[in-house]
């Protein structure tokens, strides 16, 4: 079974209100040394055993469906099957 992880993060110049909110809350937990928090999506995709072009298909899924290129970047990592 092929497993792929697509990470989708807001581009660095785009405001990440979610990350800002977490950053602002950390002092309440007693954590004061964090300089930045950015929050994005982690998408775990599992393919059929038989599939050949996992990487290529994942790129398509990420580009067309998971990320909006206007505000987001993504990375695709095909996990080693043994790593599963």
């Amino acid at each position: 079974m092929a497993r792929v992880v697509v990470d989708v993060m807001l581009k660095s110049e785009i405001l990440d209100p979610q990350g800002e909110a977490v950053l602002g809350a950390l002092p309440r937990l007693g954590v004061n040394d964090v300089t930045s928090v950015r929050i994005g999506k982690r998408v775990e995709i599992e393919f059929d055993d038989a599939v050949q072009n996992v990487e290529e298909q994942s790129q398509i899924i990420a580009d067309k469906l998971l990320a909006n290129p206007v505000i987001e970047n993504f990375t695709v990592s095909v996990l080693d099957e043994d790593a599963v």
Binding site: P17, Q18, E20, A21, V22, A25, R28, I39
Partner: protein, 227 residues
């Protein structure tokens, strides 16, 4: 002397004024509490209103849990003070582990605003004491993350304990076992997703059933005083 019901304002609380109106119309005295204040101003009960505390980023209610006032609310709840959380307030109570389970994204993935028909499953809580057994109420439900979830063992346990307080008659969000509201074991802490504070006037709400919640806590408090 009327009961004093504290209403917490977190940054991002939206229904705090509305909760105060409901408390007033229900015959109690609303008392404003600020999230960062370390005082409960000798209130008799606490109402955590709806809204988007701290923007509701990350998970709804996750950040509000760490506010000053929630430490006090937890201690007061442990001593038996009635605490109600509505919508975001319910999420805060779950995140604070004062109530079992969690509230996650609606199964249909959208925010939805519709009047919800609910059955009051128990009147043995501080906030439902004045309802007839199996009463049906209509309250506005409006949320994007109101699907109640818990593991099966927890669900079985709270069912058995009578901690399921409100159930949807037309489940609007995919909540497990149609659960709309739950209580802690003692019955003094209650959370529900639909909004009683937006059903207190015929002119503005789908019903006036929300007044029953205030009537309940007043009955509960005066019973306690009588004891």
């Amino acid at each position: 002397m009327s009961a004093r019901i504290g209403i917490v304002t977190f940054p991002g609380s939206l229904d705090d004024r509305d909760a105060a109106r409901a408390v007033r119309l229900g015959g109690a005295e609303p008392v404003a509490l600020w999230h960062d204040d370390a005082v409960l101003k000798s209130v008799d009960a606490v109402f955590l209103p709806g809204g988007f505390s701290y923007g509701d980023y990350l998970r709804c209610g996750a950040i509000a849990r760490f506010s000053e006032v929630m430490g006090l609310v937890r201690d007061a709840a442990d001593r038996g003070m009635p605490v109600l959380g509505v919508c975001n307030g319910f999420q805060v109570l779950c995140e604070s582990h004062l109530l079992p389970g969690a509230l996650v994204r609606n199964a249909h993935l959208r925010y939805r605003n519709r009047p919800a028909r609910l059955r009051v499953e128990t009147n043995r809580t501080a906030w439902t004491a004045a309802f007839a057994p199996d009463a049906e109420v209509v309250l506005p439900a409006k949320h994007g993350e109101g699907r109640y979830v818990a593991d099966e063992a927890t669900l079985d346990r709270i069912e058995a304990n009578g901690q399921v307080v409100f159930r949807y008659l037309d489940n609007p969000n995919g909540a497990m076992r149609d659960i709309a509201g739950v209580a802690n074991e003692a019955g003094n802490v209650v959370g529900l997703m639909p909004h009683p504070e937006h059903a207190v006037e015929a002119l503005t709400g789908p019903s006036t059933d929300g007044l029953g919640i205030v009537a309940s806590v007043l009955a509960h408090l005066s019973e306690g005083a009588a004891r």
